[in-house]
């Protein structure tokens, strides 16, 4: 009962979601904990609540800058001011300021590359770390779909910090990956909580169809099916053009991808959350850190690159626990695009050779390469993703011999490509699997708990009509826009609204 009180006190929730309580209790018992909780079940509460109950700092290692930023902002919007993110977004002046005030923060987010910086590490060593959090812990394993070599250092850093109480969190990790997490974090004793990745409220449909039908089918489906929904694409261009076609059809829809400016990205995300948009045509850049409960459908226009990502993406549906559907469209040959994309994520041989030639010519130290990203990215023509791979690999190396490191990197890239290609073929296998789709996924994650249900998947039987519905909200008649009224509704408190929200005392 005590814990529920604390839950209400800090989060105003009256009950825990599945898994949260067990995990929190394990930490409060002082046990290192590995928790695998499906997407959308409130992972962050698992460290925030014990964080509040423990004396000392909570240090959170998080791999993605955007995700980190989202989490910090969410905590701030909940009223937590003692939270800060230390990453390469900060200017040197901001970094200095943050470091000198570090002790005034309770929750400190840090990117793995920042943990390699001595000043930061030393600063952290002066403090009491009550809880060490490794978010997206699957990044530590090279079997993971999102391996980050610099995550390998976390174990060492953890030792340097005096092996504080640790929680490793992930949404999707196979058995191999979980074993790696424990190994690299150097846990001597730990508790493991693996909750089923099954989301019974999400029905799974796979449809195999010809290339030419795809577009038409999408337009038809979106008209019938109940929103809000997200349509995932592998290409920005297609996301844009489909959004335009759907708009012509009268849908409230926008495209979202990494090519947009920051302002548009924030606005589109927020419009979707606030139900001003019903559909987002997105690339995989969309969805991380988005808390929207009522997403009713996820449509994959292209096949995802791995089952792990697929699971994350479909997991954005039905967070309110209500019936939702995930549909994947596959046309024979789609895997070729996936294979190409996989290769594009990794640096090419020529680029690596060019980079190391520059390094040798200019006699640069390998450990300083990350400081020069602005110069090397254009010089070698790296994409951001490619550069991240290089940067992360170099950060994980201790070898000073430039030639050896180059060969190791080349070798590493070849291996990664092979692994990623295997993952693409695994998705293909899943698509073509004639048995239960849900069981296939559960099997992949060595997960036992599955329950036959109505509308389980397209193999078991799926009545698409069950997901049809009228539009989420009938569009308001397009009234003439009145700027004065709009401005007044934002800045002048309307009398009628007074009783709606009272200050929480």
């Amino acid at each position: 009962m005590e814990l529920e009180k604390a839950l209400y006190h800090y989060f105003q929730f009256t009950s825990f979601r599945q898994g949260q309580k067990e995990v929190v209790e394990s930490i409060l018992r002082g046990q290192n904990t590995l928790a695998m909780l499906p997407t959308g079940t409130g992972k962050s509460l698992c460290y925030q609540l014990p964080g509040y109950l423990l004396e000392g700092k909570v240090l959170i290692v998080s791999p993605l800058l955007s995700l980190m930023q989202d989490q910090v902002e969410q905590m701030k919007s909940m009223g937590e001011k003692r939270v800060i993110a230390i990453n390469s977004f900060l200017s040197p002046a901001e970094k200095r300021k943050a470091l000198s005030n570090l002790s005034s923060y309770k929750f400190i987010f840090v990117s793995p590359e920042m943990l390699g910086v001595d000043i930061i590490l030393n600063k952290l060593r002066e403090m009491t770390i009550a809880l060490f959090v490794v978010d997206e812990a699957h990044c530590i394993s090279q079997w993971g779909y999102d391996f980050r070599p610099d995550y390998l250092k976390i174990g060492e850093v953890r030792e340097k910090l005096g092996a504080p109480l640790t929680i490793a969190l992930t949404a999707t990790a196979t058995k191999e990956v979980r074993e790696d997490i424990v190994k690299y974090l150097q846990f001597r004793s730990w508790e493991e909580f693996v909750f089923s990745v099954d989301r019974p409220e999400i029905s799974i449909g796979i449809e195999i169809l010809g290339h030419k039908e795809k577009q038409q089918k999408t337009l038809e489906l979106v008209q019938k099916i109940k929103g809000p929904g997200i349509i995932y694409f592998s290409s920005k261009k297609l996301a844009e053009s489909m959004a335009a076609k759907l708009r012509d059809q009268g849908e409230r829809v926008m495209a979202y991808h990494g090519g947009l400016d920051t302002e548009s990205r924030t606005l589109i995300q927020q419009q979707f959350i606030h139900n001003q948009l019903d559909i987002v045509c997105a690339t995989s850049a969309f969805g991380m850190g988005i808390n929207k409960d009522n997403v009713r459908f996820i449509l994959h226009y292209h096949m995802p690159l791995q089952l792990e990502a697929y699971l994350q993406e479909i997991g954005r549906a039905g967070r309110d626990g209500k019936e939702s559907i995930a549909i994947l469209f596959y046309s024979p040959g789609d895997e070729q695009l996936s294979l190409q994309l996989t290769e594009g994520e990794l640096p090419e041989k020529e680029q690596i050779h060019h980079l190391f030639m520059l390094i040798q010519q200019q006699n640069l130290k390998l450990e300083n390469i990350h400081l020069e990203s602005e110069r090397f990215i254009p010089a070698c023509g790296f994409s951001e993703t490619q550069w991240r791979v290089v940067e992360s690999f170099l950060a994980s190396m201790q070898n000073e011999n430039v030639q050896e490191v180059r060969d190791q990197l080349l070798n590493y890239v070849t291996k990664r490509i092979r692994l990623k290609q295997q993952k693409v073929y695994r998705v293909l296998d899943y698509i073509q699997h004639s048995g239960c789709k849900r069981e296939y996924i559960l099997d992949y994650f060595d997960d036992q708990g599955s329950s036959a249900k109505k509308n389980c998947c397209s193999s078991c039987g799926l009545a698409l009509e069950d997901f049809y519905g009228s539009k989420a909200e009938e569009m308001e008649p397009n009234l003439r826009y009145n700027w004065k009224k709009d401005l007044a509704s934002m800045l002048i408190k309307q009398v009628g609204d007074l009783h709606e929200k009272r200050p929480i005392s």
Partner: protein, 354 residues
């Protein structure tokens, strides 16, 4: 065959530079490159309102626009980078009802340093006030640059009134500001604002809602921002909240860093030749700097570099022949060197010739 708004704007700019500059000078202008050449050209051809008004432009897009104008017979090419307007092109630019350029309040050069700061802070301010009066704490700031968030915290702390009144005051200021020119359409701005109950539109969505060409909307949005900056800073006692957004951000345009250094040396009494040696730069580069200074610093004395009689002769020639090409002027005033001609044009370029 109709011409898009963007093409019309570029056609207008092509007319301004006549065939004296390459098309890439426009690329630099719209992108907002801070080189002496671009800054001087902007003033010389009176295109300074457009400075940095479209920073997203790429060389490819530039080529494409010019290509379209050329293929459709609005431009005649002299070489791959130099064009002049055909009769058809001239007609477009002169037809009053098609476009009135530049937009009335657009001041790209004057305000380029504060434009986006002004917008980001204003929209944050509206969002924060709106959520404050509705006691809504859980919202995601629409702009999240740490320096802006820190600014807004400070700004609100400094206000003495009650929060209801503050939001009210901001509302009143905005209304008063918009009402000073009835040709301004405030919807261009308000559609983009985020409040407690609605998220603002993106640039593309707002253009669509107003049924405007997207580039036209883009310029109109800058136009209204510059209008607001202009009105509120010139009547700051009437608009304390709006002018407070700009605060003491530099409004006057500084010299490029390199020119600044040259100016400091000039003030110490070094001459062009000496400065070139000290700074290990070509003398012609130092001359470029001096032209930039002549353009920016009103009380900079030209007499050291060009005599009064020479200045008058150059001005007379430019007035009589409306020549702006340096070589044309030099033909008529052979005693003057190019440096002298450029200085005179820089000093007088921004003002009416006659």
């Amino acid at each position: 065959m109709t011409i898009s708004f963007k093409e019309a704007v570029f056609l207008y700019c092509m007319k301004q530079i006549q065939n004296e500059r390459s098309i890439y000078s426009l690329y630099h202008l719209f992108q907002g490159k801070k080189s002496s050449q671009t800054i001087q050209d902007a003033h010389l051809f009176r295109l300074d309102p457009f400075f940095q008004s479209y920073p997203q432009i790429t060389r490819e897009e530039m080529d494409h626009i010019i290509g379209v104008l050329h293929v459709n017979g609005y431009l005649h090419s002299i070489s791959s980078e130099y064009y002049y307007l055909t009769e058809k092109g001239e007609k477009i630019v002169q037809s009053q009802n098609l476009i009135s350029l530049p937009p009335k309040y657009l001041q790209g050069w004057k305000y380029h340093q504060i434009t986006s700061v002004f917008w980001e802070r204003l929209s944050l301010l509206v969002q924060v006030y709106s959520n404050l009066i509705y006691q809504n704490k859980g919202f995601i700031p629409i702009h999240n640059k740490p320096e802006n968030l820190a600014w807004i915290k400070n700004y609100i702390k400094m206000q003495t009134g009650k929060r209801f009144e503050l939001a009210n005051d901001l509302y009143t200021e905005l209304i008063n500001c918009f009402q000073q020119d009835e040709n301004i359409d405030p919807a261009v701005l308000t559609l983009r604002l985020t409040g407690h109950n609605k998220i603002g539109l993106t640039e593309g969505q707002a253009a669509e809602q107003l049924q405007m060409d997207s580039f036209h909307y883009h310029l109109e949005f800058l136009n209204i921002l510059h209008y607001m900056i202009y009105i509120s800073t010139n009547q700051y006692s009437k608009f304390p909240l709006l002018s407070g957004i700009i605060g003491n951000k530099p409004q006057t345009v500084p010299l490029t860093l390199s020119t600044e250094k040259t100016l400091r040396l000039l003030e110490k009494g070094f001459n062009t030749n000496e400065i070139a040696r000290i700074r290990k730069l070509k003398e012609s580069t130092i001359e470029d700097h001096i032209v930039e200074i002549a353009l920016q610093v009103n009380d900079f004395d030209l007499r050291k570099y060009v005599s009064f009689e020479m200045e008058q002769r150059i001005l007379t020639v430019t007035r009589e022949t409306s020549a702006k090409k340096l070589s044309q002027i030099r033909e008529k005033v052979p005693e003057a060197n190019y440096f002298e001609i450029r200085l005179v044009l820089a000093r007088n370029g921004g003002r009416p010739w006659n």
